[in-house]
């Protein structure tokens, strides 16, 4: 018997004839149907081709046209940043309930596998946040998937949390990252996937992407759990 990661209701694996006959291990969902139903998955064919925003059409969304059509960055987001997702992040990140990292692990791993990336990396959090939170929330989201630390935070005068800044502050924020020493040798000519928790303005993940491209990556894409 396993329990839903979010509401602690008992979740049972679905066993149908197909499952019985094929010998693959039984997978138990981490979320119960009720909790899962509160999240809105973004189908790839109903999203902005650049930032992954959930929309009916597949043309580039207004936010992305501001970045410029030639801007090469592409992001894929798995879920809408709706109320349920907001609550999830406030419990997981800000309250610091590390157990919740498992909720979307399978979704994230599946998306990583589909990307056929050579190098998977994550957006780092600064030292102070790491101290108080005790974990990097992005590492938690991908579980035991091996990630390479390509970026580290530079000391900028970070007065406010990212989530406390407005759009203008964010868009004009200077490069917060630099490459770690082994990064250049690891990514030259490779396909690099950068993972973050939420895509909001796209500023942060694009800063990271531009560093990776400058270091010679042949292909750079983003993957975020949520978009909003």
């Amino acid at each position: 018997m396993t329990q839903c990661v979010l509401c602690e209701r008992v979740v049972a694996p679905v066993i149908d004839l197909k499952k019985l006959l094929d010998f693959s291990p039984l997978t138990v969902p981490q979320l119960c149907q009720i909790c899962q139903g509160r999240f809105v998955a973004i189908p790839p064919d109903q999203s902005c081709p650049k930032c992954g925003r959930h929309q009916e059409i597949t043309t580039i969304c207004p936010d992305c046209t501001q970045w410029g059509i030639d801007e090469p960055f592409i992001n894929r987001a798995l879920y809408e940043y709706n109320e349920a997702m907001k609550t999830f992040f406030s419990d997981y990140k800000f309250r610091g309930d590390f157990r919740l990292r498992k909720a979307f692990e399978a979704d994230m791993k599946r998306a990583i596998n589909v990307s056929h990336a050579d190098v998977v990396t994550i957006i780092p959090v600064d030292e102070q946040t790491l101290q108080t939170r005790g974990f990097n929330q992005v590492v938690g989201l991908v579980g035991d998937y091996p990630v390479v630390a390509l970026f580290e935070t530079q000391t900028t005068n970070k007065g406010k949390r990212q989530s406390e800044r407005n759009r203008h502050d964010r868009m004009t924020a200077p490069q917060p990252f630099r490459l770690t020493p082994p990064a250049t040798s690891l990514i030259a000519g490779k396909r690099v996937l950068i993972i973050d928790d939420v895509y909001t303005t796209g500023r942060t993940i694009r800063h990271a992407a531009s560093l990776a491209r400058a270091a010679g990556a042949s292909w750079v894409q983003g993957l975020t759990l949520a978009h909003g």
Binding site: R95, G96, D97, F98, R99, T132, G134, F135, N136, V139
Partner: protein, 451 residues
């Protein structure tokens, strides 16, 4: 901003409290008055007394955290809890009680016993039936404690109860500083002689209160959360008095009373002097399947028809929100002329519907357990369809039965449970009501006998 996220700057904010060291300003941390203790003893959280499962709560830095009380701010094994021994620094003004109401003879007798328990620092359980007028009975005891310069708190598991209680206590003790604490409150914590708070807020106190009253101990979430019981014991001083109030004591409370850990006090008669209506169980056969075919148990239909002819209004309880649509349809098919209104916890029109019932615009209201407490309609009967369902606890059933006969003008009301089986839970609810009624009859008998 939430209370827990504010940095503690003043010594007085630590009197009798336990605050994680990271929420206390660094200048205060080194003050000699501040006492610090580790937040964990092995795997046991020192704030809520529950154990953390190392497998799931170990952080990458090796510390563990408590998942049980995380809603009050995460506590890890790297943290310390800061406290300053409660100094009772109050400038008491006499007399504390500005309430001028009068207690009935029975209420007064009960309130004497409460005050005596406070004076002797006894842990007490007051079993007062629904509609007994508990709050007013507390006043003399609280007044005594305040005048003696003691620190007092009244806690309830439910925010709405706290918010309803606060103005009544403020009016009754209007010269006494009062702090009201709950999860989403605005404004900062203040050191006051009288604190009204949710039981969750007690997790932030340590040996603070000389007198602690915990209301509605049978209500969610207190009843199902051992951390809150631990918190209430830890929030009072080791030699303080703890008073639990309930209309439906759970097993652990009754057991504690039998073992002598608590003194049990009864108030078995309602403020209007009448007994509780007793529960009558009517057996049904698979009502849910029938209901989905648009039919209702015959006995229920007959009872409702009788109520309609006598213009007697009623509440009809159903176990689940999911039952309501089918029940509504079945009711509309059976009684084509009647307006059927259903209401449940997350119903956006909840308040409007309840007030339509209150203003007698509706003959009846169909509901789930949300109306089990705190709602008073005069002159109604109470019917429960599917009382055997697991969603109903004994406490919930007694509370539901307690909706009937609450007003002095109509102290009797019918209480009918329509159930497929007579479950233990239903039997216990019946027994609890019979038990207090037996006690009540004895008192009525004694009071008419010449002394």
């Amino acid at each position: 901003m939430k209370v827990g996220l504010m940095m503690i700057e003043q010594l007085s904010e630590l009197y009798g409290r336990q605050i994680p060291s990271r929420d206390v300003s660094p200048s205060l941390l080194n003050d000699s008055a501040v006492c610090r203790r580790p937040a964990f003893d092995g795997a046991y959280c020192q704030r809520c007394g529950q154990s953390a499962d190392r497998r799931s709560t170990t952080l990458p830095n090796g510390a563990i955290y408590c998942p049980h009380c995380i809603q009050m701010g995460r506590l890890t094994s790297n943290d310390e809890l800061c406290t300053i021994a409660e100094p009772n620094q109050f400038t008491s003004r006499l007399p504390a009680l500005t309430w001028t109401g009068v207690l009935t003879t029975l209420q007064a007798a009960c309130s004497h016993r409460i005050q005596a328990a406070f004076e002797q620092r006894q842990d007490t359980l007051l079993w007062a039936v629904t509609g007994a007028g508990k709050t007013e009975m507390l006043f003399p005891g609280i007044a005594w404690a305040l005048e003696a310069g003691l620190r007092v708190a009244v806690a309830s598991p439910r925010v709405d109860v706290c918010l309803e209680l606060a103005p009544r206590l403020q009016a009754a003790f209007n010269a006494v500083d009062q702090a009201v604490l709950y999860g989403d409150m605005k404004g900062a914590y203040q050191y006051c002689q009288l604190t009204i708070c949710t039981t969750h807020q007690l997790l932030r106190f340590y040996h603070a209160f000389d007198v602690l009253v915990v209301d509605e101990v049978d209500a969610f979430p207190f009843a199902s959360d051992p951390g809150l019981k631990y918190a209430s014991e830890q929030a009072k001083k080791p030699n303080g008095a703890l008073l639990y109030l309930t209309a439906t004591p759970s097993d652990w409370l009754q057991r504690a009373a039998r073992k002598g850990e608590l003194v049990m006090t009864y108030l078995p008669i309602r403020y209007h002097g009448h007994l509780l209506p007793e529960i009558k169980v009517v057996r049904t056969r698979d009502w849910r399947a029938k209901m989905h075919q648009g039919r209702l148990p015959d006995r229920l239909v007959r009872q409702m028809r009788e109520n309609f002819t006598h213009r007697r209004r009623f509440l009809l309880f159903a176990p689940h929100v999911a039952d309501l649509p089918a029940l509504k349809r079945a009711l509309e098919l059976t009684f084509p002329g009647e307006t059927v209104v259903t209401v449940h916890a997350t119903d956006p029109e909840r308040h409007a519907k309840v007030s339509r019932m209150r203003s007698r615009e509706l003959n009846f209201l169909v509901t789930t357990t949300i109306l089990e407490r705190g709602v008073t309609f005069p002159e109604i009967d109470v019917f429960v369809l599917g009382a055997e369902d697991q969603v109903f606890s004994t406490a919930a059933l007694v509370q539901i039965a307690g909706r009937a006969g609450r007003s002095a003008s109509d102290p009797d009301g019918a209480v009918r449970f329509y159930a497929n089986q007579l479950t233990e839970v239903i039997k216990t609810a019946q027994q609890q009501i019979k038990f207090v009624n037996r006690k009540a009859r004895r008192i009525q008998h004694d009071s008419v006998r010449p002394m």
